[in-house]
Amino acid sequence: MLHLNKLTKQYATGDKALTDVELQIPKGQVVALIGPSGAGKSTLIRCINRLVEPTSGAVVLNGTELTRLGAGALRKARRRMGMIFQEYALVERLTVMENVLSGRLGYVGFWRSFFRWYPQSDVDEAFRLLERVGLDHMADKRADELSGGQRQRVGIARALIQDPELLLVDEPTASLDPKTSRQIMRLICELCAERGLAAIINIHDVALAQMFVQRVVGLQLGEVVYDGPPDGLSPDILTQIYGEEDWEATIAKVEDDDDDLAEGAVA
């Protein structure tokens, strides 16, 4: 469904963030992208929806070459790619509902969005999603009144209301505590399974990635150095990705908290 073909990004400063990245993701597959800071994980997912303009190579989504689209067609293509951010990137001074509905901006005209006259079907969907992520009672709160976990749930709802085929997830848990991190990862993976979405999840936490995904891609200095199942991440491979470290001791199996979403909603 998504195919990255020799994707390369060189920044104006001369730093090469990505070198000939080759990646194929079938429909409905959740992929974790791991690698040290500066490996090019954020650049990679931003090159897919062209928040960062790739230098060369192609991104093909369902047969459309995104890298060649003009501004208007790119906006249409972006509607099918939901994005979730590390620090939530909610518009802090807008309400939860406005933040969720902003996921529909690609579908409604300027004046409709300006006066917040969204179609009732969008509003219905927004309420459904807020209920699904456990925040239906928060619709009228301002985004900056929410806790970290709650904000990330709003971010997830905003991405899903776009009706995407692909989720681009940039460090969803890096600003969250371990328990909330797990709840958020579980929620993202459940939602992907429910809706048959493919997803690329950038993540620092190798143990967390291993817990939830079917496939792990390791990135080091802009190059793919591992692509395989999560349990194939041997200490040798981790050393290759991150550098020398006592992996047996640090990547011990982490206990999964047995809490459900209802509890997470109040967290």
Partner: protein
């Protein structure tokens, strides 16, 4: 930062090393010398007779200015109302131009970093470099005396002020929110309305009431050059040496400024 090592191997840390310290004392010495020279110049060119006389003259004017001529207030309500209108309409008019200029001048929203940004900066600088009293002088000559000239003068001066503060606010927004809205497939205008405008709203409101507050003060003097408002009464009272009337006008202006200050503080508190 200076780190030196004593004979016994102990590390000494001082904020500045010795040469740096001496250089600083030297510049301080020059600065003091310049100030003393200027002081002496000013002193030799002052007619000290008038200065020693000042308390007596001030007392004399004071005794003639008090008590204020309260009955004169009947003639002040209308010019006071004009003054407030000049300030308010001038501020609104300036915002009409300042907002687009600010978006053109901000690095992160300008359509072109040279062809749009530089003209916008030029507008800001030229508006700011000329005092509203000078604008009023020019405009009274061009469009004739009256409230209209005053309003335009206030507006012209305020464009630069508001646009400058606003474009600085635009440049300081959190780009991640812009990124997030862009990623949904929103258009340029939608990104502006959803990601940028909510972030600059508090500064916008703060700037507006702050400028309005300043404009109330500025419009009280515009009448001195014939551009309407309470300054006109001030001018005519000064011309006939009617000190009790001047006192009353100053008192009224003082109260108006206090009230405007209170209003703007309230508005700012309410918006944040």
């Amino acid at each position: 930062m200076a780190v030196s090592i004593k004979n016994n191997g102990q590390k000494i840390w001082q904020l500045r090393d010795r040469n740096n310290q001496i250089l600083r004392w030297f510049f301080l010495f020059i600065a003091v010398a310049i100030i003393m020279y200027c002081w002496q110049k000013i002193s030799s060119q002052t007619e000290w007779f008038f200065v020693w006389d000042a308390p007596r003259i001030a007392g004399d004017i004071g005794s003639r200015a008090l008590p204020p001529r309260w009955s004169y207030i009947d003639q002040l309500w209308e010019p006071l109302w004009d003054t407030i209108n000049i300030a308010t309409l001038g501020t609104l008019l300036s915002l009409f131009f300042a907002v687009p200029v600010a978006f053109l001048a901000a690095r992160n929203t300008t359509p072109h970093p040279v062809f749009c940004r530089w003209p916008a900066l030029l507008i800001i600088v030229s508006s700011r470099s000329i005092n509203s009293l000078i604008w009023a002088l020019l405009l009274v000559a061009i469009i004739g005396p009256g409230i209209f000239a005053g309003t335009i003068a206030i507006a012209l001066r305020s464009i630069g002020f508001c646009a400058k503060l606003l474009y600085e606010a635009i440049e300081e927004i959190d780009e991640k929110q812009v990124e997030a809205i862009t990623a949904t497939g929103a258009s340029r205008w939608q990104v502006m309305a959803y990601a940028i405008v909510p972030q600059i709203m508090p500064s916008f409101a703060g700037i507006t009431v702050f400028r309005w507050d300043i404009n109330i003060r500025e419009s009280t003097v515009l009448g001195l050059v014939g551009a309407g408002g309470i300054g006109l009464q001030m001018q005519s009272s000064l011309n006939v040496l009617a000190w009790p009337q001047v006192t009353l006008i100053l008192l009224i202006v003082f109260i108006a400024v206090i009230i405007s200050e209170m209003v703007s503080a309230k508005v700012r508190a309410a918006i944040i």
